[in-house]
Symmetry: C2
């Protein structure tokens, strides 16, 4: 069960952690995955964090169907161009060929906006602030578990507004109050957030905002997007409303999503050579008690004490690892691999002495704690671990972020996938394409507002239009 080292072969490390920690495995339908219980429990914690924030910002959940009549996909020109090549199509059902093929949703703007046409008549019907939790299918050519699978789970929010300003405010509220807040407080991942360049924009969006995390191999992971869609979809699906001035107007739209891809982010932002390191807010088990014994008498005594300790840990997700078929060392390794934040090792001598070794997964430190103090100290320590993982990820990102003074410096840094390079860019798609050709890096995001940068483009030397964050990315 020895993992490859991150420094030796990061992709092999990732695959091994996903498999050995019981997070997921490739499924029998090519390019898809089974999300296994440990991985799914982490996903449930992410869902809760995101769903709570979606509701706290005034949104309601609903559910639109999986299958979309093909004609609906073809109404928004950029959107169909973006998604048509990767859809899965149902052509037969109930033993017969369908008159009209049904597309398995790759995202739901099309069917939702076709439906909003019925729901929106007057400005009084607005805003619509809706979200759904759903599975989507995109026929990825190079599938990779959690990061790019042919089916994934996500939430997709779809809102409709009276004005452009209101829709833009919504786009940013989701980015800030839902995604960045959950990333900061629950996933413990520092994010860079900003606008996408035109080349990286969602098909059909006027502006796409994303949050970008840095993985421990120096590559970026786009971790969530929030799109301002302007009137593109309301025009395509004819969603008009009578305004306060009695004029007919097209509604303004946003859409936004995060997905099971975030699991890949958690693994690669926090993991180390011993395996996963889970932020306590996400960990299905926050503390494991490993009993240590040599015979049945010791076993009975230690397990009784372990169970008593576990029940004293009110509000902590705790497990006593009672398995007889494994030795303590095996259990230590396994729970470290699975990323459990804390471990208490409890044997007869510890009970005699009234103290036991307590291990922290984030720092790898182990120190003896008085048994009587453990219940009081655990929740503070879990908070510390949550903060420490964020601090470590932030320090890593700071160490792997440069503001290069020459294109040579930037090119070398990016080609080696060493992290984020922040530099002025002339705003020209050709310049962006040149960086990609030279280094495989893309623009991860720009500032929130256009402009606001002086000086010359680091690549072309022309006047800079934007401050850009470049990196290789998943």
């Amino acid at each position: 069960m020895a993992l490859p080292k991150q420094a030796d072969d990061f992709p092999a490390w990732y695959q091994a952690v996903v498999r050995d920690a019981g997070l997921a495995e490739p499924s029998l339908a090519p390019g898809t995955m089974v999300i296994k219980p440990w991985g799914y429990a982490i996903w449930e914690a992410i869902q809760r964090a995101v769903d709570d924030r979606i509701k706290a910002t005034g949104h309601e959940n609903l559910y639109f169907p999986l299958l979309i009549p093909e004609r609906l996909l073809h109404k928004e020109a950029e959107h169909v161009e973006g998604f048509a090549p990767e859809v899965a199509v149902v052509t037969h059902a109930g033993g017969e060929q369908l008159e009209e093929p049904l597309v398995v949703r790759p995202t739901s703007e099309t069917i939702i906006w076709a439906t909003y046409a019925k729901w929106v008549q007057s400005w009084r019907d607005l805003p619509l602030l809706y979200n759904q939790w759903a599975n989507v299918v995109r026929w990825e050519m190079r599938p990779r578990v959690f990061l790019r699978t042919r089916e994934f789970l996500w939430q997709e929010g779809h809102t409709a507004h009276e004005t452009a300003d209101e829709a833009m405010a919504e786009t940013l509220r989701i980015l800030d109050d839902v995604y960045l807040d959950a990333a900061r407080k629950v996933l413990a991942i520092p994010m860079l957030a900003g606008r996408k360049s035109a080349a990286e924009r969602f098909p059909g969006a006027v502006e796409t905002f994303s949050m970008e995390a840095l993985m421990r191999d120096g590559k970026a992971l786009q971790s969530g997007t929030s799109h301002y869609l302007g009137q593109n979809f309301s025009r395509a699906y004819d969603v008009q409303f009578q305004g306060r001035d009695n004029e007919l107007e097209y509604a303004y739209a946003t859409s936004w999503g995060v997905s099971t891809r975030l699991l890949g982010g958690v693994i690669m932002a926090h993991g180390d050579d011993r395996g996963l390191r889970l932020p306590p807010a996400l960990a299905p088990r926050q503390l494991v008690i490993v009993p240590i014994y040599k015979n049945v008498e010791e076993r009975a005594r230690v397990l009784e004490a372990a169970d008593a300790l576990a029940s004293d840990l009110v509000g902590v997700r705790v497990e006593v690892d009672e398995r007889d078929e494994h030795r303590p060392g095996f259990k230590f390794n396994e729970w470290e691999l699975k990323g459990v934040p804390m471990r208490v090792e409890l044997g007869p001598r510890d009970l005699d002495e009234g103290r036991a070794p307590v291990y922290r997964r984030d720092t790898g430190e182990k120190e003896p704690w008085a048994l009587a103090d453990i219940p009081r100290r655990v929740s503070t320590t879990l908070d510390n671990i949550q903060d420490e993982l964020y601090a470590q990820a932030l320090a890593f990102r700071d160490e792997h972020t440069i503001r290069p003074s020459t294109y040579d410096e930037m090119r070398e840094f990016l080609a080696a996938a060493e992290g984020f390079a922040i530099a002025p860019w002339d705003g020209d798609p050709e310049t962006e394409a040149k960086v990609k050709a030279d280094t495989k890096a893309t623009i991860r995001c720009l500032g929130r507002e256009p402009g606001g940068v002086d000086g010359a483009c680091i690549v072309s030397g022309k006047p800079a239009a934007e401050q850009a964050v470049f990196a290789q990315a998943y």
Copy 2:
């Protein structure tokens, strides 16, 4: 917004409630539905109730893919016969025809048992106690919102066990501790539970157990099923393990599910001519405060008091209906239609007198409560309403259950869809078929254990083999 009366046209009443209460609507893909926010919030409450109980009984959630290679479907003979006619098939994806078509899961036994073959080697790997929340697609020819839609949401549990006894115990534990407990305490629906006859069994099951609710039109609704699958799927997918005796053995299986169909059950078990009546445990809003005012001064005063009252109602899902564009009478009707259990009507005179009319949706009673008492009395009253709705549904069922002494009596009762008829049955499928031909009624369930009945079959006069519950059903 006047609803058809239940007694005049129950199907029309159902459709109108679903539409006017904002529960769901037909979607653009034929036979599918959009579950709207009010309906989805009820579903979320059902999910929480069921998921809590699934986890409390030792199960973990995971997630298997939507798309199943077609060959997997064809391994269990009865199962394929049952489901092949109603599957939707993906034949194209990523712009190309697939080498092997993919079936959109109608249920997941096939892909799950094909995967369990990898997960189960030894008795130490058992039991597997897994569940997933997912969407499934079945190409229903006569779709009906919530009750029979081409896509629906559900949970499906799939467990694997060492012994037949253990698997049968699991089958019944799910029925009792998860489904019947949630139905009783959360949905407030009395259920009859028992075995299915062979004709009504799940394709591939050895025994199917179901819980059956009585709707207010006298028809039964199958509301949840738990299947003992024996070794049918382990043999079909070659899931063998080394037993404690070192012999290879096939695992024993169960599967079980409840779905968005339960929403239809809640509507039709509790609803009345004014609309939905929601059990407080399910209600997205448990209490609505409707402010009553004639001018802006009154409005300000009343809304301030309403907000203060709302914030005193700790732990209650409460809304102050601040909409200016509707009159109080409109609001009363709308919240009654949506099934909100309690309403407080609050005007300036009520504030002066220190008391306000409090309305209960379950009984239709309205009485003045001292304002100061409201916070203290609400949670008890919500508990009462929860109990009262159960009691009313139970009384309705008792009034609509007969133990007929002649087949004539039973035939007349069943043909008129008056409810449940409980009678001895000879166990012969032809007798069952005759009842169906005569009355449209089917056997909803039998006793939990076979036999245990004396006397003669009510239909054939032959010796009875089972006590059977007959009813027309959705």
